[in-house]
Subunit: 226 residues, 2 copies
């Protein structure tokens, strides 16, 4: 895991360098700014779920433990080998919904709006963990079914950061920032929810709808602004 | 057609009234502004194609004329009863691709980025009509196949307006404006391409990816700014 993390850091730094260089050369973002204490990483979250250990055992069998497949940028977080099938309210299905680990103390499915349309139901935009009153769904694993009474959301776009990043940008936990995306399809996401924790690495999470709206990729300039 | 258009105008005015009212009540867009000479209409374009008369005859038979099914907001433009099947480069298919009429003198398919991903190919973002060097595809109709050598694009977001609107907003043909979308998923589209023509009614066209990124709908406040 530590070697994977060091690769991630290198990639993050390289992307930052490319973006800084592009910005200098083509003025993509309109104005330059001094980089903060940490490189800005923007990642697109594809649909996924978080499960409790109890839910994992219902779906995969008693005593089953998730197996990390790919470590994510945030320390200790991983995409698991295991995936589930999501069954929506009209028996429409999404196969191979990835599980992110480690286990949490609640079950939550995060879909893009496009996914919700294809399943034929309406989901609210919420911050992770704020699932009260949201729609439920059925999950299917190799060992059984799990009926979720609630927990299907579209995750609000957000940024993880450490206190030193918050100080640099002049923002507080639970405030909002803007993410400016350059390029031919320039878009500014005006409401990026700020989550500050000493364990967090600076990383914006947008979903596939948001990523596709602006054609986001490693060569597209981006900037976080208050 | 004229009655449909007057209904559209009414709907446009009503939406504008609702937005103005919401803005006053909840301050959704942060600041109010005096409305322009015409109400702002924002429509989400689902994937579709424009065809030449010759292409229509190849796909639907000699002498076939498109049948209007639903009149669009721009004068004389319609969604046709007829649809085609699009076959992508890996034999993946999109069924019921709607044809917009009347016929043009070139063939063009407009997809969202999500559609292009599901078909498994890469499409550039272009303004309508600017299709040189873009990917092609195969279309299938009840009377035959049409091989398009080029013409598959993601349409750049754009606004149609009359000269009086351009004067009000202080913009020129082929310049760019911003479209601010309010609500919980507030987004600003920074590069809305301006198309000015005396025949145009004020209307922004964004695609389904852009619409889904911000959860756009009739009750979501929006504002066009220079």
């Amino acid at each position: 895991m530590s070697s994977t993390n060091s690769i991630s850091m290198n990639r993050a730094h390289i992307e930052q360098l490319v973006r800084d260089s592009l910005r200098r050369q083509v003025g993509g973002m309109g104005r330059s700014r001094i980089s903060g204490p940490n490189p800005l990483v923007v990642n697109i979250s594809a649909r996924h779920c978080h499960l409790s250990q109890s839910a994992v055992e219902t779906l995969f069998g008693k005593g089953h433990q998730l197996t990390p497949k790919k470590w994510l940028y945030q320390e200790g977080q991983y995409a698991a080998e295991e995936s589930v099938t999501l069954i929506g309210p009209r028996s429409r299905v999404i196969s191979n919904l990835r599980i992110l680990g480690p286990c949490r103390d609640f079950n939550q499915v995060e879909l893009a709006y496009t996914d919700a349309i294809s399943l034929g139901f309406d989901i609210p935009t919420r911050n992770s963990g704020d699932i009260k009153g949201t729609p439920g769904c059925m999950l299917m694993g190799p060992a059984g079914f799990l009926k979720m009474q609630e927990g299907v959301i579209r995750a609000a776009p957000h940024v993880h950061m450490a206190p030193e990043d918050a100080a640099f940008y002049g923002v507080e936990n639970k405030s909002f920032m803007k993410l400016k995306i350059g390029g031919a399809l320039g878009v500014t996401f005006d409401r990026i929810f700020v989550r500050v924790d000493p364990s967090f690495k600076l990383e914006v999470h947008i979903d596939t709808d948001e990523g596709n709206s602006c054609g986001f990729g490693p060569d597209v300039p981006c900037e976080l602004v208050r």
